[in-house]
Symmetry: C2
Subunit: 524 residues, 2 copies
């Protein structure tokens, strides 16, 4: 990489002169931008020259603050509590990985990965999810054969954003995964229990968990006559059934993916099926499907799972849905996603021509876009093995909760809350302002673990101080005057009560105790 | 950007053919790597071909898990508690910013910024600190005139790593900043109080907070005869005095930065000075310095500050140190950093020739590298104005705590702790394993908010279950047998006591209450 202004300028000249790299070419543009940045960075300090630049965050990202931030932290705390309640321990991995670690894990979605620029050294990309980094971590830490790990962190996807619906390019995932060799479907069932506990704790209304099994799906494709090398791509097409009608998906299978129409029609008979446990009995009665090895394994897993889901009181939320396919390559068994009535957008008319859309444009106003699934996951038994190179890696099953989408559902019914936790505001009466005395009182309160503020003004009047305290919703005031300083006392007064009393005078040595009492009584 | 394998392959061919872009050229290399990645991403799914790749994290980054993770979370919680105790509210900004937002803010360190690849669309870089994004946020949110905000998040620097000393390329910063127009030095003093409270709460031994003032420093440079356009670069040289002796720094000033030797020598007389408040009186008695406008303003600020630091009981930790300069461009007033005896490495011999070092190599074993400052900050009154374009932006002062460096100090005296919080382990006696009954008991306990685990095995023996519970340090066991199921009871037994009693039999309806009692008594 060019590191000096001169080197970069020379690179830009070369790029401009080369017929293959005209000024409209992206590489040339990037080089020019770098040159400008380098010039700026190397410019002598002092008052900055007037620059033209956009004062904004990158597309698909946003700042979080104030009450949104408090709601988001509340969501994190609820999720963390449930994760810990099931024995979860947490890990943290870097936000970027060596690019080769991510390669070949995400199927058609790989094009959405953010790459870091090659600045000399390793080639890296921002993580696309928390699952592949977890598998990489397991493969590196060979002493760990089993773990229940949770991880709450940001992931990155260069997807078309719809911000107010929680579809973003930078977003948090909250993942819980169970790694290790266990008896069939036991951890899978607990992961679904965890999901239900979290969505209940967050008071998400009317959610449903759609279940399917990759082996049943693959068995269906097999008996319908899908060639082995087309199974994953046909599976991706099926996954679009939550947004598009069957006629559209069928068209994609035949026209884009060159499937025989008769094969597509047979698939169509299966993937429209959904229901409760009884659907499983129905499928088990289908001789052709039952005699397919993969499908039979999948159906046996499902039967075991339904037994456990009953014991774990999860069954009422479950819908067995053969149209659920999940896009990612790495799933090998059970797959699931949680949806609400707001998950899917309005279905587009089948005869509507697809509009050419700007991939950077926000689609929040597009009615065909819903908030999507609010959580999703499944079993992936071979991902760790892809890193260790061993045939049998560590089998895993997990769930990922999309916090931004949950947030967009909860924000509508958010109740107003304070945005800070300050308990005491220390004020002065009189013309001198008593700044150093206020500081000394604050210092005593901080030392006692009491959350305290004061006004950053040498000589504030009492009104200003009351206003600042009440604006912040602070429950207790401590008031100082010359007389109190002389007497070694302070006045303590509950705030926001509308009462105009002067407060109670207490000795400085009793101040902390009195305030603690008052805070407890106000809490109750 | 090329998005298909064919387009990328054609780009690689062009680059290889072009004499200016031989295969050793970084752009060519990057294009070849992209081609490989595209090929991989577009490869048909199914069992992956055997790949050669390094199973590791990018240089300068690390995974966190187990007891390290618990210690780190404890540090975060302590810091957050103190931030909130002073009225702090939190915000979150994207991990990458438009590149132009970061340009021209970091002086010589700009070369350490990580850039994202241009994949079409906006040009972005990973954030280098949390201060510039905060200033950008303030500039965008014009309704906010004052705020005490804290932000705990990862930042990125392509610096030479020394992992075990907490010098990393991806690391957490914990920032507290006060923005707004206030009476002089009041928020500055509280920020220093916050720093002292945090380092005390973390039980960091023997820390010192070095203070200086940019205006005093600039005044010194001015009266010594440093040309105005060299002030920032000479300031950067002075900043190296914590690692290098004066003779080295003097050499850099004269040889690299073309300063007159006589000017350098005059600077040398000032920057070796450090001490307590009395140093300020000494400087105030220096007629030449006192008659310099900038220096006089700085000294007046310092006098005010010392008064407040006394009221806030912070003074014993303070050292006024004229050699402290801080590298970043954006500071305009008070600057400070917290150091411990382990902060600086051993000073290199002055006659030692500088070794050519590999920038990617880890320097953990290099004795000349210390853990560095564990916290640093200062006042930056013009940064927000650089974004709004207005002359008077929002003045700010803040502190940034380097958690990884704090971590490396605390890890040495870390005491063993459990790595999970599980309270109850549910087990079965007998050959049938009672898996669904165990699940039902767990479900009751989870519903009651009790952290519970069970063994993911259909028919485990009692030994396996006790081992799993005791390995995890779980304090209470709930034991089920056929008899208990029939009677509607369970056995409850404290674990890890060494006692071999069978436990207490209680009714299922009383189980939750009994366990809560037991957990409370074990806590006490």
């Amino acid at each position: 990489m060019a590191t000096t202004v001169e080197e970069q300028a020379s690179l830009v000249r070369k790029l401009k002169e080369d017929p293959n790299f005209g000024p409209s070419h992206a590489d040339t543009k990037a080089a020019i931008v770098s040159l400008k940045a380098l010039k700026l960075a190397n410019a002598p300090a002092g008052p900055p020259a007037k620059q033209k630049f956009s004062l904004k965050v990158p597309k698909g990202t946003k700042d979080w603050s104030d009450k949104d931030m408090i709601l988001r932290e509340k969501i994190f705390n609820t999720i963390t509590r449930v994760f810990k309640s099931h024995g979860g321990v947490t890990i943290d991995t870097p936000v970027f990985e060596l690019r080769e670690i991510l390669a070949g894990k995400y199927g058609e979605d790989s094009k959405l990965i953010y790459d870091l620029k090659d600045q000399g050294g390793e080639i890296c990309s921002l993580r696309y999810d928390l699952t592949v980094p977890f598998a990489r971590w397991l493969a590196m830490n060979t002493n760990i054969e089993k773990i229940k790990r949770y991880h709450i962190a940001k992931v990155y996807r260069r997807d078309q954003p719809a911000m107010t619906k929680g579809r973003m390019r930078e977003f948090y995932q909250c993942d819980f995964d169970v790694a290790g060799q266990y008896d069939s479907m036991v951890p899978d069932a607990e992961v679904l229990r965890i999901l239900v506990e979290i969505l209940n704790a967050l008071e998400i209304k009317d959610f449903t968990i759609k279940l399917n099994h990759r082996k049943i799906l693959d068995g269906i494709f097999e008996i319908c006559g899908v060639p082995e090398d087309k199974i994953r791509t046909i599976s991706s097409a099926v996954d679009k059934l939550d947004k598009s009608p069957w006629s559209e998906v069928r068209k994609e299978m035949i026209e884009e993916k060159q499937l025989e129409p008769a094969v597509a029609d047979k698939i169509g008979e299966y993937v429209v099926l959904n229901g409760d446990e009884t659907l499983l009995s129905k499928l088990q009665g289908d001789d052709k499907l039952s005699s397919n090895k993969r499908a039979a394994e999948g159906m046996s897993d499902m039967a075991t799972l339904f037994t456990y889901l009953r014991a774990l009181d999860v069954l009422p939320r479950i819908k067995f849905d053969l149209s659920l396919a999940r896009g990612l390559d790495y799933y090998t068994g059970l797959i699931y996603e949680a949806v609400t009535p707001l998950s899917s957008g309005k279905v587009l008319q089948t005869n509507e021509t697809k509009k050419q859309v700007d991939a950077d444009a926000d689609r929040s106003e597009d009615d065909s876009v819903g908030v999507g699934s609010i959580a999703a996951g499944g079993r992936y038994d071979n991902l760790v093995g892809m890193f260790t190179g061993k045939k049998t890696g560590i089998p895993c099953v997990g769930i990922s909760i999309g916090v931004e989408r949950v947030f967009s559902l909860l924000k509508a019914r958010e109740t107003a809350a304070r945005n800070n936790e300050t308990e005491v505001f220390v004020m002065a009466i009189g013309k001198t302002g008593l700044l150093e005395d206020r500081m000394r009182v604050c210092t005593e309160l901080w030392a006692a673990g009491i959350k305290t503020e004061f006004l950053y003004k040498k000589k504030p009047n009492l009104r200003q101080q009351f206003d600042a305290a009440e604006k912040g919703g602070v429950p207790v005031g401590v008031i100082l005057g010359e007389q109190e300083i002389q007497d070694g006392t302070v006045k303590i007064k509950p705030l926001g009560t509308g009462e105009s009393n002067e407060g109670e005078t207490v000795k400085r040595s009793e101040m902390v105790g009195k305030i603690r009492q008052l805070l407890t009584s106000l809490d109750g």
